[in-house]
Symmetry: C2
Subunit: 262 residues, 2 copies
């Protein structure tokens, strides 16, 4: 367990950061994200464009696949073009996922300059050319690593149309904020789905035994009903969940939070 040093923010900054973290915790819709969280961040430091993307990061395959996207002032056409390019080949994304979570970058003619002083010369990745086409010249990009295997991670970028150097205060603020922005994105994504499947008591009960590997006969013994009735409940709950067999029913139920993980 190690924590980076962050000595560049004042008490007043800290209060604003706390307020922003609160808005992240309270945000439970896309609207909240745009109308409450983003304005709160704008009180902390200035930026012209923002992109908050949530996706999966497969360590084994070194692959980053964005799944949800929130952007501020970035036209849809930018994302269409960007999606077509290979994310992982973007030098900033690549560096992020290589263990440098917080980065500052800027562009000069044909070069991407990272905050390590490193420059990525031509052949320039298409994404860099794309950024310059849209008039974006510098920004901060943070990656929030997935909490566990198979979980989502975020790539969070705030950028400007001017060529600005790295500001330690902004960097420190971002290192405080990004984990909570990630949580907010994650929560929002989960709110999107889940259209209220209601199982009856018996169905939940049967489902919980299924999860534990019990067969219909086993369950019939536990519940004191006939095996046929257990199959009846299984059939109904599969229909409600939209599953075509038991493994899928269990998977859907767990992902919808209808039964605990245990």
């Amino acid at each position: 367990m190690s924590r980076p040093e962050r000595g560049h923010i004042s008490g007043n900054d800290a209060l604003l950061v706390l307020e922003t973290i609160e808005t992240c915790l309270a945000a439970d819709s896309d609207q909240d994200l745009y109308e409450t969280v983003i304005p709160c961040i704008q009180k902390l430091f200035s930026f012209d464009y923002a992109s908050l993307t949530l996706g999966t990061w497969q360590a084994a395959q070194r692959k980053w696949s964005p799944q949800a996207l929130y952007s501020l002032n970035l036209p849809g056409s930018f994302w269409e073009s960007y999606q077509k390019s290979n994310w992982i080949a973007d030098p900033v994304v690549a560096e992020s996922l290589r263990g440098r979570p917080h980065q500052h970058w800027s562009m000069t003619a044909g070069q991407t300059i990272l905050d390590t002083g490193e420059t990525r010369a031509p052949p320039l990745h298409p994404s860099a050319a794309l950024l310059m086409d849209y008039g974006i010249y510098s920004g901060y990009t943070s990656a929030v690593a997935p909490a566990g295997p198979g979980e989502s991670c975020s790539m969070i970028t705030f950028c400007t149309g001017r060529d600005r150097g790295l500001d330690p205060r902004t960097r420190d603020i971002l290192s405080h904020l990004t984990p909570h922005l990630h949580q907010a994105l994650l929560r929002n994504q989960n709110n999107g789905k889940a259209p209220d499947i209601l199982l009856s008591n018996r169905e939940s009960e049967v489902l919980n035994w299924l999860k534990l590997g019990k067969s219909s006969w086993d369950i019939s013994m536990v519940l004191g009903i006939s095996e046929r009735t257990v199959n009846f409940h299984v059939y109904n709950l599969m229909r409600k969940l939209g599953a075509i067999n038991r493994p899928q029913a269990v998977a859907i139920a767990v992902s919808r939070g209808l039964i605990g993980l245990d």
Copy 2:
């Protein structure tokens, strides 16, 4: 979306709160919790005892079942006695779960006084008598509601051996901290289990198709191998996961984070 007013903390407090939130984010073992997070909180306000419990809260049954417990200066015998009593009948817990997440309480002879001014007179709940037996007279208890259905929630208590009144600053600090303490507890709990089950590429692949409700034949078509081989992989992954059939294999894999929820 609504946020409570919190006007009782200073810029300096805010910096310390941010630091504490950082320790919560970085804590990934029980040791971190005791040696880094708790001392950090002690820099913010003083307390003699603490208990951080993580458990499940079944809204339908109004039932709170603690699953993990971290305590500071509270002897094991206290918890043994407390566990035997009915948690939900504890007036503070009951109030918490009724939608008052942050509470201050104190004891006088035979009474529990809540911060609403309400008093819970005898017959006193056994837990109250128990607290007084151990010399605990007042404290703050916060409940962090589960993020989604089937998810865990926390009950977090900081208390003292003296009869102290409600301090708005402490209350505000706690309302900032508790969501992150909850996250830390949650993360620690998940770190506790998961003894590294390693599936081969093919096994994960097969597992992911199982989760989607595909039969062995379906999977054999997708992967271009024989149905027998699919069964072979399924047999192996069930053995590795300790499952006796496919539904259980999927449930275990999801709970261990070996495959995504989707």
